[in-house]
Assembly symmetry: C2
Homo-oligomer: 164 residues x 2
DNA sequence: TCTGATACTTGACTCAGTCCAGAATCGGTG
DNA sequence: CACCGATTCTGGACTGAGTCAAGTATCAGA
């Protein structure tokens, strides 16, 4: 069983990445649930292949991102998230309440913001755009809307009058 | 000594924030060294008023951000950074090598990317843009250029052949 | 099948940030 | 100017994400 499943196997070989059950499972987990954290991915993988160490997850994810097979995004106030949509210049829209993340195509075109007004002499190679707002569910029902409970990302409120 | 220094005192009162030596010092530290981390700010503050607890730093920073007196930015792979430039819609350009961060005015105009192509029903209230690249110093002298040694932010390389 | 290279496991550790309870300070009032 | 309640600061423990290191297991080419 578990013969050369999808194109994942091929894909890894093509990019000079050694093929292991863990990596295959991670690739598949990312594809089936984009914008997941390393932790969530680890859970998914465990559900499939039984077990995997946290280190293997981080290591594999690192290799795959390095080989451009995955893309890593790190929204403020949240753990890093991974997605398999690579190669295109798309951005992200994140709900401040529940953390739901959706892909957004570039508003301006293909390579929008790579042209800063004044580059200060920097060699700019990437423009990262994150839209923040509130998703339909959270706008409608602010109380019970928590589809994705991982790190809701709220504006760090100062603890006011915390002790009684 | 240290009488009502600058407008900081007034500013805090105006925004309903209790004025303390710590907060004044933090405000001043952020102004004099934008894009610093909480830790760096704490050091600066200690140099001025002797000592401050980490909690007080985070708490004050939180209150000030909450009152829109400061702005918090959290670049991928780095601790949160603070700046006193608020109210305008400017973005940031960060060096992948040394972590140097500079302000960038909006390429498109004033409120550039708030208009996503498809908002997926979200109520978008902020567009965060981060340009990544290499600063002049790091492009010229990649070896010794490390003006700001705090969390250089390099692409998380996978540890290849780590054991001998 | 062997074998060297690469990956995975386990466990300790770092770093940024938070929580908590108690002590200190702020600032409006008599 | 002293008082007092509200707010803030201190110190220490704690959490979560991610990394480091050494040893073991697995991959893949000969």
């Amino acid at each position: 069983m578990t013969n050369s499943t999808d194109g994942a196997h091929q894909l890894l070989r093509q990019h000079g990445v050694q093929v292991t059950a863990q990596r295959l499972a991670i690739m598949r987990a990312v594809s089936s649930r984009p914008h997941s954290t390393a932790d969530e991915l680890a859970d998914d993988v465990r559900r499939v292949i039984g077990s995997i160490s946290r280190q293997a997850v981080y290591d594999s994810l690192g290799v795959l991102v390095d080989k451009s097979l995955l893309r890593r995004i790190q929204p403020a106030g949240s753990a890093a998230r991974y997605e398999s949509r690579v190669g295109d210049n798309h951005h992200h829209l994140i709900c401040r309440t529940c953390g739901t993340t959706v892909d957004i195509d570039c508003a301006v075109g293909s390579v929008p913001c790579l042209t800063a007004d004044d580059d200060h002499g920097f060699a700019i190679d990437e423009a990262e755009v994150v839209y923040w707002g509130y998703c339909p569910a959270c706008r409608t029902d602010p109380e019970s809307a928590t589809p994705d409970p991982s790190t809701p990302v709220t504006s760090t409120q100062a603890r006011s009058s915390n002790h009684e």
